[in-house]
Structures are given as C-alpha cells and as structure tokens.
Amino acid sequence: MLSSKKFLLILFLALTLPLAAQDTDAADTTIYDLLLKNGHVIDLQNNRNGRLDIAIIGEKIHAIGENLPASRAKKVVDLSEYYVTPGLIDIHAHFDQKGAWLNLNPDHNTLRYGVTTAVDAGSSGAKGFEKFKEETIDKARVRLLAFLNIVGAGMYGKGVENDVAQMDVDAAVAMVKKHPNDIVGIKTAHYQPTDWEAVDRAVKAAEMSNSVLMVDFHPKEGRGYEDLILKHMKPGNIHTHFYGRLTPQLDENKKVQDYMWKARERGILFDVGHGSGSFWFRIAVPAIKQGFLPDTISTDIHKNSIMLPRAHLNNVMSKFLNIGLSFEQVIERVTVNPAKAIRRADLGRLDEGGIADIAVLKIEEGEFAFLDSGHGKLTADKNIRCMMTIRKGGIIWDAEGISMPDWSTAGPYSNFR
C-alpha cells in the first residue's frame, strides 16, 4: 500500500521532474544583454522571413530563434510591431567631413536611418585617404568604408578629377592594399575630357588591387555609355547614378535599351546613387515597370542632396517601395546585394556569432511626398522609417524610446530622488 505521504511525494516528483529535466536540458543558460522579442525578421541571406527573437551578448548576436526566454535577458525590447533587418548598407555616401566641401558628418546621417555600414564614394584619393581615416573613419560610430578616388587629390578642388596626371594607378593600388579593412575599391567620377583615361586607369587599378570599381560617368562625343558598360567596365564593376539624366538608359519611347540588359547579363552592377542630380522619376518609374531594378539602393548623400530631395537611405528606399518594389526587394538591395557588391560576405546578414548590427524598421501608412533630383514630387501612401538602430550590440538610436521605461514609474533614477 502506498502511504498517502509517499503518494504525495511521487505526485510531487511526477509533476516537478519534467520541469527540472527541462531546465537541465537547456544547455544554454547564458544571460543575454539584450533580447529583441517578436520582431518580423527579414534576413534574406539566411532565408529568414518571419517572427523571431534575437539575443545579443556584448557586441555579438548570441542566438536567433523562436521563443528565446525573456527571463534570461537583462533587457527585453518588444518589437512585435516592427521589421528587424540586418544593419543597412549605403554604398555611395560622402563623409570625408573635413575634406571636400559637400561632405557631411557620418554618424547621424547613417545610424538614424538604420545604416550601420556606409561607403564613402571617392571623396579622398591616395594623397588624402590616411587623413580621412584618422580624422573621420576611425572616429565614426558607423562602420565607414571607402572607395578610393583614382585621382590622388580625391574630390578636393575644382576640376581636379579631370587631371590625368593625378591618376597614379600604382599609388592607388598601394593604398588599397595598405588598408584592406577600410578600402573596398576604386572610384572614378566627374571626368570631362573625351578620352577613356579615367575609366581605364580606374579599371586597371581595381584589377591590380583585386578590388571593386565604382564608376560615375559623363558620356562625351566618341566616349559613349554603351561602350562603357559593354567594353570598358569589367564584371562586378558598379555603375552608379544609373537612373540619372547623363546616361542614356532608355530610348525615346522610354524603353530600356538592349545594352542595359546585356551589361547586366555580363555582370555589371547598377547602383542608384540618388544625390541631387541622379534620380528622376521619369526615368526610374518606366525602367522599373519594365523590370530593370537597381542592384543596390544607395544615397550619394551630401550637403545638397540631404536638403530638398532629402535623399537619406530611408527616403530612397521609400521611393522604391512606393514605385512598386516589394519590401523584401527593397531590403535585399540595402543588405544582401550591397554586401556582395563590395565583397563583404560578413555584412548584410544576421548570424549567431556575428557583429550585432541591426535595423528596426516600420512601414508607416499615410500621405507622404518624395522629391526626385529635379524636385518633381511623388505623392505616396507608404514611408519607411527607422525606429531603432543597434550597432555593435548597443542601442544607438531609439526614435520613440521603445527600449526605455516610463520616467514616472521608473523609480528614483540618477541622483534625483
């Protein structure tokens, strides 16, 4: 006969053992510094597109999964109303803040828009790069990379980018090789003479340094766009400003030129580089309707473009969303694609063990207006807004204080009682 005491003991064990077992089964008892709960994660490189939790310890992502225990986190942030993506990448920006006059301060023009990696597009060349690195890159909180201008003096000074004598291939190659963690490739831009010197030297420098080339191209008589993208540029090279007015991407009937498709087939990449002159609805809308989408969405952010066209990355992303790209297509073009374009396989994705660079985004609905480079307006009903940015595991931007407790119930804080 089972005594009632024994029965109770067995009952107790029967009820509690599974709980105890569960506890010991969970090998991972680490304490998370931060747990992002229930966000809609879009991490296309890892085929994630749904509700997941992300646990962060220190600078790194510790775990990504369903139902990670809140009890193990020092801080929990509920993101059930938002999208969670890898930190965004803007591969065309201008942040050499003490150099070229049009440049901006890097941090607030990136991190407030979910951008955790920005690439300065040729503001400095071999002569000025190390000053740029010391004064800006190494001090920035955003991960700041660079395309090195083929021109030694970079963009500093009127007409300097026309000076072939300054396009020292060997000096550029040496500088790229010296700073492989900072420089992703070579940039050529604003070249006005009618020969191919600038492009060809830049192509050569990129090949010799085994890095990426970004081209800004002003076609001239005898130096046409078709030849650029079909003959002079190499697969993996990037043409930026491709929805601009300078290059003939559409025929007179607004049909995308055959050579655009051919160039894409041979591996030429097409980047937006919005800026204050390079994004026109009358070019982008027909091209997109015909299926010619950008490979990468970027801003060319500088002192002019940030004002009236207001071309920060969320603004440019919103334009594409409203023109008809899906949200996933937009995210792909600011995470996966730019990471591939600049050959940084570690970026644009969320990996356990990887650096925790994360953007929290919201698609706002209402009435919004977006200006193109000519200030023509698109009235639209969706707007992509960055609610929170995490850089190296820390919440660096929190637009509405979603990670903060309410002051009136937070108890005494700081030295105020």
Binding site: N105, L308, R310, A369, L371, I402
Partner: protein, 437 residues
C-alpha cells in the same frame, strides 16, 4: 506645358495654376535675361506676380508682432514682403498651401555645437532640416580660432551661424580651465571686430576652485557689451556654488544654461520639490535660464517639478552635438515638444524659441519675427497627434499625445527644406522639368 524656343528652357505649369519659368544652367549663361524678356513678350502674368513665394492659409504664430491667427505670408527676394489675410495666389510665382500647419519665425537655437568640439555637427543638415534658421555655436571657437570658424563654417553655411565665443582663446579644443589663455582684452577686441556675429561669451567645463573664468568673461563682456552664457559644472568643485554664480557674478542678461540638469539640482530642492528661492531671486534680478538640453542636461523629474511651479525657461535650446542627436534626439522641435508635454502653451513655446532668444542676444527684431521688411526666415510646423515617446538624459521616456515637427523651412527667402513637397508639382504632370527652384 508651354513650349519655349530658348535652349534648355521651358515654361511649366506650376502647382498654383500660374506660369513658372524653369531654367537649367542659369548660372552659366544669360538665359535668365532672355527668359524674362520671353515671358514679357508672352504677355504672361509676370507683372502681377510681385511675390516670389506665398505661404497661404497657415496659422501664423509670431509672438513679436502679436499675431496668432490664419494669415498669408508673402516673400520677395530674401525679405518678408507682406503679412495679411487673403493675399491672392496669382500675385506669387510659387504658392505653398499651409492649411493645417503653423507658420512661425525661423527657430533660433541658442546652444549648439557646429565647430571646435569633438562632437560638432555641420549646421545646415542638422538645423535647417529641423526648422532652425539661426544657430549660436556655444563656445566652440575662442578668439584665437574664430577666423577659422568664420571661414569654414559661418561663411559656408546657409544657416545663420552666430557665436558665443569661448572665454578660452583656443575654444573648446583647449582646456577650458586654462587661465593663461583667458585674455579678456583680446577677446573683447575680437567681439568688437564682429558685432552681431559674436553675440556673447561662453564659460564652461571649468575645473578650478574659483570663479576666475567668470571674472574674465564679465570684464570682456563689459568692454564689448555682450552677455555671457555659463554651464553648470559647479559641484565638481565644492568651493563654488550656483547661488554665488548667479547672484554674485552674473549680470542682468547673463544666461544660465543646462537648467534642467540632474547633477546639482540647482532648480529644485531635492527634499521639498520646490524651486529654490535663490533661483527666483536670480530671475527677478534679470538672470536668464536656458534649456541647453544635450546629452545629460534634461531629466524629467527636474523639468516636471520646475514646470509644475511655472518656472519656465527663458529660452528653449538644444545643445545639439554628435551624441545628443542620438541619445535624446535633442533638435529644436523635439525639445519644444517636450515643453508642450510639460504643459507649456504652444504660443509660449514658440515665443521662447523665436522672439525671446533673439532678444537675449540683442538681435530682436532683426531676427525672430515675421515682420515686413525683415529677412524671410520662416518655418512650417505640424502639430501631430498620436502617441509619442520622448527620452531624457537617463534613458527614461515620457509618452505624450503631441509632437511638433518641422515640415518646411525658408531661409532668407529660399525654400531649403520641404518634407511634404508643398512647394513642388507632381512629377508625372510636370513635363520634362529640369531642376525646379
């Protein structure tokens, strides 16, 4: 779309139903002249368009001129031409429908960092995009670095950039306790060299056990006829206190910034929750109190207690720099929204962000009003309704139901920021437009 025979020139139908001229590369050829002649020959309505810009139907709050009602504002060139009810839109080249928005003088931020401090930010993309048309750099430059500041920032910015010049010759990059670099005569000479541009003297981050920096600043201020603005780094040094600073060293018109800081509880007695008697006395004697929000100088408990007792700041300012633009999002509309959340009426908030700061730096009514004949610095503010979160220096938030947001900025008559595209036509009906001004 009206065809135009001139090269690279077209006349496009504007959003207000008027004819507007759109020219590309106007800076490089005399096309403007040709265009003006062409327009006259067309017999168009040019003669009737006496204004360049008309802001129509907005609720104007211009405390300096005691306007608080729906009015139209017309701009010619860089000046305010007329403020009146029902100015016809056919009298303007460009009309902006401001229905449902507030129209106020361009905001004035008395405390920001646009030079000489490790966290400096360029003024245009931080200030003009938040409706602020005048910013006073708070101590970045000293008399020895002022020329560099003027050349690299003041002269190159669209924002009106003024200076509270540092008592220390080297400015904020130097040690602000370096008493060997506080030459009041050289400082006064520099201020007199740039009247109206250097509007006062900044003293901050002083670590010695005396008031020497304030004594020097007062001497220089008396020579040059300008006020000083002083931070609150007092308790780090127990031989100094705020009461002595305000009552003994300050003159009427001198400014105490970071007033809602949490470090020393200068405003509110921590046990009784009452505004300190010497704070009232200081105000009575003409000492001024500035928000200077920043990274660490605004905590909800201090602000709540003071504002409950109607101890309002004289001036609302940001202390905007590369940290506070993240942590507390301390731009002018955000700090103004916090004042609204604390119960300050909208008209008072606007007054303390426009006319009042202009008075404090002796620039009123040159700036801070929408006065006819004055430089046209105008902002359109939207008062959004919803649930908004506002963080403080210690990462605690207050939820509030309103948010002030700048949606359009005019600086010296130029439309420099237009979040809602109010000044521009739809792309698909505007024709082959070039850059629309």
């Amino acid at each position: 779309m009206v065809p135009c025979a001139l090269p690279s020139c077209s006349i496009v139908e504007g959003s207000g139903g008027y004819l507007r001229l759109s020219c590309f590369r106007f800076a490089f050829n005399p096309i403007w002249l040709q265009a003006a002649i062409a327009l006259l020959l067309l017999g168009g309505p040019a003669s009737a368009q006496r204004y360049d810009l008309l802001i129509k139907g907005g609720h104007v709050i211009d405390p300096g001129n005691e306007i608080d009602s729906v009015m139209d504002v017309a701009v010619s060139g860089d000046k305010i031409a007329r403020v009146a009810e029902d100015i016809p839109s056919d009298q303007a080249k460009k009309t902006i429908d401001a229905t449902g928005l507030y129209v106020t003088p361009g905001l004035i931020d008395l405390h920001a960092h646009v030079f000489g401090y490790s966290g400096w930010l360029w003024p245009d993309d931080t200030q003009l995009l938040t409706g602020t048309t005048t910013v006073v750099d708070c101590g970045g430059a000293g008399w020895r670095t002022f020329e560099t500041f003027k050349e690299t920032v003041v002269d190159r910015s669209k924002t009106r950039v003024l200076s509270f010049i540092n008592i220390v010759g080297a400015g904020m990059v130097g040690s602000e306790s370096d008493i060997d670099d506080m030459d009041h005569e050289k400082l006064a000479a520099k201020i007199k060299q740039y009247p109206g541009l250097i509007v006062g003297i900044k003293c901050a981050h002083y670590g010695r056990k005396d008031y020497y920096n304030l004594e020097q600043a007062v001497k220089a201020g008396n020579l040059a006829g300008v006020p000083m603005i002083v931070d609150n780094s007092i308790l780090t040094n127990n031989d100094r206190d705020t009461e002595t600073k305000l009552l003994k060293y300050f003159r009427p018109g001198d400014i105490h910034t970071h007033m809602f800081n949490d470090r020393h509880l200068e405003i509110v007695n921590r046990f009784t929750g009452k505004v300190q008697p010497y704070i009232y006395e200081a105000r009575k004697k003409g000492r001024l109190f500035d928000v200077g929000h920043g990274n660490g100088s605004f905590v909800w408990p201090a602000a709540h207690k003071a504002m409950e007792q109607k101890f309002y700041p004289d001036t609302i300012s940001t202390d905007l720099h590369n940290s506070s633009i993240f942590t507390t999002k301390a731009d002018m509309p955000n700090v103004m929204s916090k004042m609204l959340a604390l119960g300050m009426p909208l008209q008072e908030v606007i007054f303390r962000s426009t006319a009042r700061p202009a008075q404090v730096i002796n620039k009123y009514p040159e700036i801070g009003t929408i006065g006819e004949g004055k430089e046209a610095d105008i902002v359109l503010l939207e008062l959004e309704q919803g649930i908004f979160g506002y963080g403080d220096a210690w990462k605690k938030k207050k939820l509030a139901e309103q948010r002030l947001r700048a949606v359009l900025t005019v600086r010296a008559g130029e439309l420099v920021f237009d979040e809602k595209g109010l000044g521009f036509p739809e792309w698909d009906t505007a024709g082959e437009y070039q850059k629309i001004p």
